[in-house]
Amino acid sequence: MTTHTDDRTPTDHGTGTVGYAPAHTPRLAWAEQAPEVFKAMVRLDAAARKGLDPKLLELVKVRASQINRCALCVDMHSKDALAAGESVERIVQLSAWEESEHFYTERELAALALTEAVTVLTDGFVPDAVYERAAAHFEEAELAQLIAAITVINAWNRFGVTCRLVPGHYQPGHK
């Protein structure tokens, strides 16, 4: 195993071969312990993505995962975004999208604002301005799907963070 950083593979993470800290241990194999719950999540995920542009969906998923700090989900959806043809710089800028609006379309910006509002509910509600901005860019049925998709990534984030799932091993197309 080389120590050259350019040769890193996902399996380097946590092995210490390149001087990184060790990987943490997952807390709970929730999908094995609650298979019916997992099955429902998979079905929900499939239902919520219907009718949504895959690239937009990945932007939404990466952003929600950043806000919720789900390492596994950031890993997975950044890679899925790249696999869907997304550019590196649009993924990199995502955590500061309000300051880098010219990287995104108005429609994407409206979706990102909605993503943040729906993700951070604990401070109260989804502001009218945010909802109306989204409603100006998405017709009603599509908007309902967008809300569902934001909800579903929040759900995966909660499982990932709570069960402390380990990032770094995901490969697009090998789910």
Partner: protein
């Protein structure tokens, strides 16, 4: 208050219901399930969900004193047992991942503290714990879908 939209794809709603039912079944404690669901709905300010689940909680015979003091459960000595308290602490941690600071998305909060997780793991075996987490996730789903669409309370009839 009128709803912003009442649209919700049928297969999305069905999967959400299946998820909630599977989690609740696996937890195997309907009264505790309502405490968890109501507390998450308080944190997420979901009026529809509060109205619905307070009704259900009363049907399950959850004591009025617990419902009255749920929002301040940490300070309500003698009202909740240790198992309930561990479930409520986990509910809060899993629900408020962001730290609840809208002024600065991404600061504060973050992760589910080891102590919170370990305390819950003392009171629930892995299977029950996985379903408890599932239930917390499931109500967070409903909270998001109802609050975003601004579904008014009162629509639920037992």
């Amino acid at each position: 208050m009128t709803a912003r939209t009442r649209l919700l794809d049928k297969s999305v709603a069905q999967a959400m219901s299946t998820l909630s039912a599977a989690a609740k079944r696996g937890l195997g404690d309907p009264a505790l399930a309502e405490l968890v669901v109501i507390r998450a709905s308080q944190l997420n300010h979901c009026a529809f969900c509060l109205d619905m689940h307070l009704t259900i909680a009363r049907q399950h015979g959850v004591p009025e004193k617990q419902l009255d003091l749920l929002a301040a459960w940490e300070e309500a000595e003698g009202v909740f047992d240790e198992r309930e308290r561990s479930a409520l602490a986990l509910t809060e941690a899993v629900t408020v991942l962001t730290g609840g600071t809208s002024q600065a998305f991404g600061s504060g909060g973050g992760s589910v503290p080891d102590e919170v997780y370990a305390t819950a793991a003392k009171h629930f075996d892995e299977t029950r714990l996985a379903h408890l987490v599932g239930l917390i996730v499931a109500i967070n789903n409903w909270n998001r879908v109802m609050v975003s669409r601004r579904i008014p309370p009162g629509g639920y009839t037992a």
